[in-house]
Subunit: 606 residues, 2 copies
């Protein structure tokens, strides 16, 4: 099969993709309107047939050529021999005439109505005869990363990188042209921030030997300082860095669409971001474009109904309280604060929900401290619980043979967490989570502080402002009140994945100092920000969208679990390695001396 | 004087700078069309008068307000007391009605036709009574960097950052919308490159302890790999890093407009960049927009005529050979390869060219190994050279009283270098270098290799291709031929400063390996690129524009020596410090352990 590129053609009519080059057309440009034209095209040799026919591929598409029969016998034989000898993936130039393919046209190919009758064939750069892989063929992950520059020629990666470029450009046009935002670059060689455990460090050269810069996790402080500096509508497509080892599908460097605005409100920022996402949505994905306004749901409601603050709204099921005493028999005498709750998975059937699947879920759920006992069943199953008649359950919850009931019992938080997990698991196997739809919503009213390892911490970060009516509670004698304070924070959740978050910030220097004290964060590490807030800081707030994750979702037609490495030109492995160039490397003596550093011996595991 | 913002209004008609905020207008929006409107504006308190009048300033402009006389006596007195108490630079909100100022209008203020009669005054955030500086007032460089967030409110920095945002957006529109380029992000955590002395390093965490990433000086390798990957029209506004200590007006991190294209030629890239610069030129600077095509001048011609490969074309004077024996008397017997050359500085007069200025020039020129003897004079001066009659010189070079003659003698390269310097010095003091014009041109035909410290090095970098007719010389037995090879490299010079450069790259793996061998660069450090070139690499070339320097030139109305820190939101000092946040810092024990590093003691000089 001839590959057909599926690149978004948003502003294609304006484009001149061959300007400033020596080709007359790309491999995707030619059609019946070009018949009899003399053309010059260049690309990669991707197919050969009978030493005479061949297909040329470039970033835009493919076109068939054949050695012209109008050539002298001698030339014809010479070109055939040449073609026979050219390895696949070599870069060649074809000069020839566009000819109608008539009845032989290839409908699967955009340029399939025509072919080029080549008078001339030039090898611009010969490829190795033993290519380690071909662009659109299966190869191991390792091979595809080692030869990333070949994988990049594949339809999938060509489309993903172009989709990313298009989305980002649309974001810029919306923010700059429609809304007067200013694109400002902020430094990446910064100071460490409180905590800072997950910040990469950059040892400084003389005259600052013995000290180091940190690569920031986000431009948070800088964007707030820009607000204090009167740049009241800032954005940046910002490179950020986070050292999280090999946690999940994350890269040590990543990109966020970083926005901040003065004189605004929580609703103002949320509306801006909704409008931005919709305005920037790639044209080729209009069929999955969400509508605004995105629904708002509070943090507590999310936990109550979905057992998570990142509910996947493609799944229609909610957690319900069991008001009867049907499952009371599961309560032990020692169980105080006990509840039983259910999710009725309407239409979930029980396909694929084998005993071993369920056991696997049990194992996964028990790995978490919040994991609680649960049971899953559908009406056709007999003797589900020995002590309860099946029919009683069927009647009570109105079950049909198509439905599945998930019951969980124990202490409420654990029950909801467990049901939240099961809601996803069940939906996963009945295909609800692979639906090509995009559900976007906001989670709001998060607690400002949380308890973690016995310590009071910011639920998000120490710069988030409490909601107006909770501000007094910051200063309450009763420290328990702190945990009840709600922050002006908002998370954007798409299809069960957090795509970004933001908040209205604390603009008052005294309140910011007080919050740092509550958190036992050293004040001196933030003295520049505290000073700035006392020198004329406007009220302000903002948002950061995880660009890699968001574009991965777009490129996966709404699947937010599409790997981020598929939308990054040169990604690193989970272990932080660039297989292609073999980074990181050891350092030379000269480098170690320049930065006054000593490194431990290489990991023996390497 | 009330400051008037001079922000470029390129696409202003489309803008809604108050959308998503709680203000109705910016401080620059109001005029006679708003009379009798109820408005809400927010900004910084910048002037007060008679406890009743005040001026509010924001990013866009200023507006005068006064406490409304229509208020009840009680309210009026209360608001007056409030206003009296608000420190300058506090952020306030004014609710009121727009009123015609009639005969009292202020022509120097864009909103000077009206004023706001305030019914309500709200202090959104009180500033400290003892502000360390005010935005538009003089302060030391150190103070302005320490309180950068206050300096950012100044007209100058507001304009510079907005100009930068506008230029960059125009570049993107030209490349993406008009020419189908793809904006691709490349990694900044990379491997060290050969040499690599000026690359910052980032120690890697487990499982790569003992190794380090390098922060790249440019995306050079990645953009070439993208070409191999079939992204045939790439660009990126790329953050780059260079550890050059405190050399000149440079920052450890800087930004370049990075472009690469396949299937193109040297002329193709130069034309693209010319068109890009002209298309992206900010509207407010149309009066200094250069015209295309930019003149091309060869490297050797530049040295011959201007004594530098970065000639300032605002200066009309050229280096001329003295064909007579007028200055032969200066030649010593031992001087072989001796020349005398002159620059006739027509119209330079001799104002300010005092003995001490000339002595200072002598000192500067003698600091360089190329510095040669010279003499400067104008016709009115008597007995310039004792052995030559003034009138003879005046006649020979056709001098008038307005002209200045610069003579230099000795070995040709040194003479030209010296005259190149003097050409700039003389032009500087007669104001030619502060002319608000922009002269842009290309320097081409650079030598591919140069001698530096007795070693053969790349004049630019090892990836530059030789010109077609010089390719064979790469393999010549006679190594002297190497120095005669010309590279397909081109530098863009504006008003005497190199703004960027680019080249057609070597796409052939064997030739690239051969060049690395010539340069004695270790092949294994570049094995990924050599492999890539053998797996189907198209012919390609590109360009990188130094964005900070270019925007500095724009913001200085064509003056390319405008400090780059004036177009960077948060610049570092020459010593690599961020005075505001006090970066770099020492590291915590936890950080040192995480990265397995030991740092030397802090510089005692700190």
């Amino acid at each position: 099969m001839i590959p057909i590129r599926n690149v978004s053609l948003g502003c294609r009519r304006l484009l001149s993709t061959s300007s400033y080059t020596v080709r007359t057309h790309t491999c995707n440009d030619l059609g019946s309107t070009n018949i009899n034209e003399k053309v010059t095209v260049m690309g990669w040799l991707s197919h050969k047939r009978m030493d005479r026919f061949f297909v040329l591929r470039d970033a835009y598409g493919s076109v068939q050529a054949k050695i012209s029969e109008a050539l002298s016998r001698e030339c014809f034989i010479e070109l055939k021999a040449l073609l026979k000898d050219i390895p696949y993936e070599s870069v060649i130039q074809v000069d020839g005439t566009v000819v109608d393919r008539g009845e032989n046209r290839n409908e699967a190919m955009k340029t399939g109505d025509i072919e080029i009758h080549a008078d001339k064939l030039t090898v611009l750069n010969r490829a190795s005869k033993s290519m380690p892989m071909l662009p659109d063929m299966d190869a191991s992950d390792k091979t595809r990363l080692l030869y990333r520059y070949i994988a990049l020629r594949s339809d999938k990666l060509q489309r993903a990188l172009r989709l990313r470029s298009e989305f980002v450009h649309n974001v810029r046009k919306f923010l700059i042209e429609k809304n007067g935002f200013v694109d400002v670059e902020t430094p990446t060689l910064f100071r460490r921030t409180p905590g800072g455990a997950s910040e990469f460090v950059v040892p400084a050269p003389p005259p600052n030997l013995g000290m180091a810069y940190s690569l920031p996790q986000s431009p948070q402080q800088f964007k707030q300082l820009l607000m204090v500096g009167g740049i009241d509508r800032y954005f940046q497509i910002a490179r950020c860095y986070r050292d999280e080892g090999s946690k999940g599908d994350r890269q040590p460097e990543f990109t966020q669409v970083d926005v901040e605005m003065s004189f605004t409100t929580q609703e103002g920022v949320m509306k801006l971001i909704e409008d931005m996402i919709i305005a920037a949505w790639p044209e080729s994905l209009n069929h999955i474009k969400p509508k605004s306004p995105f629904p708002r749901i509070s943090y507590s409601e999310a936990l109550e109904l979905y057992g998570t603050d990142k509910p996947d709204m493609r799944i229609p099921w909610k957690i319900e309280e069991v008001k009867s005493n049907t499952f009371e028999f599961l309560r032990k005498k020692s169980d105080k604060n006990w509840v039983s709750r259910v999710i009725i998975c309407r239409g979930a059937g029980e396909t694929k929900m084998t005993i071993s699947t369920k056991n696997e879920w049990k194992r996964l759920i028990r790995m978490n401290e919040n994991g609680r006992n649960f049971s899953i069943c559908n009406p056709s199953q007999k003797n589900w619980f020995k002590s309860v008649e099946n029919q009683k359950i069927i009647d009570e919850f109105g079950l049909t043979g198509e439905d599945v009931l998930v019951v969980c019992w124990g202490e409420p938080d654990g029950v909801n967490w467990t049901l939240g997990q099961l809601r996803n698991y069940v939906a996963e196997i009945c295909g609800l989570r692979s639906k090509n739809t995009v559900t976007a919503h906001w989670v709001v009213d998060f607690p400002l502080f949380s308890f973690e390892d016995g310590q009071l911490v910011s639920t998000h970060h120490p710069f988030t402002a409490p909601i107006e009516s909770d501000k007094d509670a910051l200063y309450d004698e009763n420290k328990q009140k702190l945990l009840q304070i709600k922050g002006q924070h908002y998370d954007l959740v798409i299809n069960g994945v957090e795509m970004g978050g933001g908040s209205i910030r604390i603009e008052n220097s005294n309140m910011q100092r007080h919050v740092l004290n509550i958190l036992k964060e050293p004040e001196y590490e933030m003295s520049h920000l505290l000073r700035a807030l006392s020198h004329g800081a406007p009220p302000h707030g903002g948002f950061a969208l995880g660009l890699d994750r968001f574009v991965a979702m777009l490129s996966g037609d709404g699947n937010p679990l599409t790997p981020v490495r598929d939308v990054i030109a040169f990604p690193k492995t989970k272990n932080g390695k660039d297989l292609m160039s073999d980074a990181p490397t050891t350092l030379s003596k000269k480098q170690l001396e320049r930065y006054g550093i000593t490194l431990v011996e290489k990991d023996s595991g390497y």
